[in-house]
Symmetry: C2
Subunit: 283 residues, 2 copies
Amino acid sequence: MTESASAFVPGHVTTFFSVHRRRTPAETGSRGGGITLTNGVTVRIEPADELKISLNGTELSMDPVTRLLSELGVIASVEANSPLPLGAGFGVSGAATLGTALAANQAFSLGYSENELIELAHVSEVESGTGLGDVVAQARGGVPLRLEPGSPSNGKLDGIPATGRIEWHSFGDLSTEAIISGDIDQLSTAGEAALAAVRKQPTLPTLFEVGRRFAREADLLVPEVTEAIETVHTTGGEAMMAMLGRTVVALDTGLSDAGYDPAHCWIHPGGATLRSDDIHTRT
Amino acid sequence: MTESASAFVPGHVTTFFSVHRRRTPAETGSRGGGITLTNGVTVRIEPADELKISLNGTELSMDPVTRLLSELGVIASVEANSPLPLGAGFGVSGAATLGTALAANQAFSLGYSENELIELAHVSEVESGTGLGDVVAQARGGVPLRLEPGSPSNGKLDGIPATGRIEWHSFGDLSTEAIISGDIDQLSTAGEAALAAVRKQPTLPTLFEVGRRFAREADLLVPEVTEAIETVHTTGGEAMMAMLGRTVVALDTGLSDAGYDPAHCWIHPGGATLRSDDIHTRT
């Protein structure tokens, strides 16, 4: 009954967020907004005698992935591949965890529903301190707004109807764990105000404007990102900082026009999915 | 501020359902399960002096689309294109309505969120008597389970984690309106039992098995479809009837193996989205 299986999970840059710690990890999470990306993480799972996790061919430890597999009661080799840097605000750990959940369910015929798999991946991220909202956003796709925190049975999502080209450049990582486990009152106040503003006008330009204000008010800006955002703005583009990374994200050709040499992708139209070779050969 | 805009909405075949009439059209809907398809409806909206709706180049009237545009307060030319037949159980009217909502929001810069657009499209379908659950399923994509009826602020969705090739053949149409406005007690009892069974084991084979039982118990089977399902079964495949159409749907190569000459597509990995020419050129 076991076979190998693959899943694709879009990257997710958070624009703004507030932290909501509740009684259980499934209820705990963040409110906020962000953008899912066609640059994401592909996860291939194969039953194995001992746990092995690799990212782009390099073995590493990823606490939420280990936790999830242990919760599922299976031992597997997890091969993740991604063009996105780890720890730079793209939700790579959330993507690897959710991709592992989807692919392991298939490979081991575990019989979970999608909401159950999303909840298991969300709980693993929360318990590992590596993320609070990426998993539910990545399961949904598009430009997700997290109206209420937590797993699908607890949280509530909406989205900004939008599509488009995204450019990004990363100057390096920031520790999610250090920030979301620290004093987050000021950050959460700014995050709640940002969400209210975006709900009033759910468009991409508003999302970017509100994101820039959030980064300032939550005191998360780093000099390289500030400079990049200003340069993009000067050349008529829209840019913002990816939470939480030393990463700048721009709409369309914003970073190229400003003289940077960015990577680019698109807003991902859907959420995380099992991969079918048939589908991928075809589209 | 106005421009033309396009959206793609996957087709949706319902496997089983129960009808739930509530106080408002937004709360009204169906519980059930189904499959969304990469065969779907592309809708292009252009501001115009008078309302005009076409499907594959032929002008026609589509009550839920007219109702929706009137609700949005805009006048437009709506060009829908689809490889799917109308009235044959593929949710073409729901797809045209949801696609119109997404594209009109973009073309006229209306500033609605995705949940709001889904609700407007769902309400238009319910008020027109043309559908109860297609719109929310098509907004989600994949293999959606409608756990609670109604628009996003009322209903609740889950999904079967699955991907795969789908074959279909249609022998003609059945009137959704006549069936869902008639006596639906027996149908709804069978639909509730089917949902409980699929929630217990959320896999594609269960979805198909439960769908066949539902079609029998709800007394909806038509002779051509019954024969096709049996022939596919005999050759080792999985097939079911699309609700509500004289249409048979099979997994993988089920219908070809049984000697039919079916159309084919795939399970659609995501939900309805605005179309970006950039994205479609790329993938």
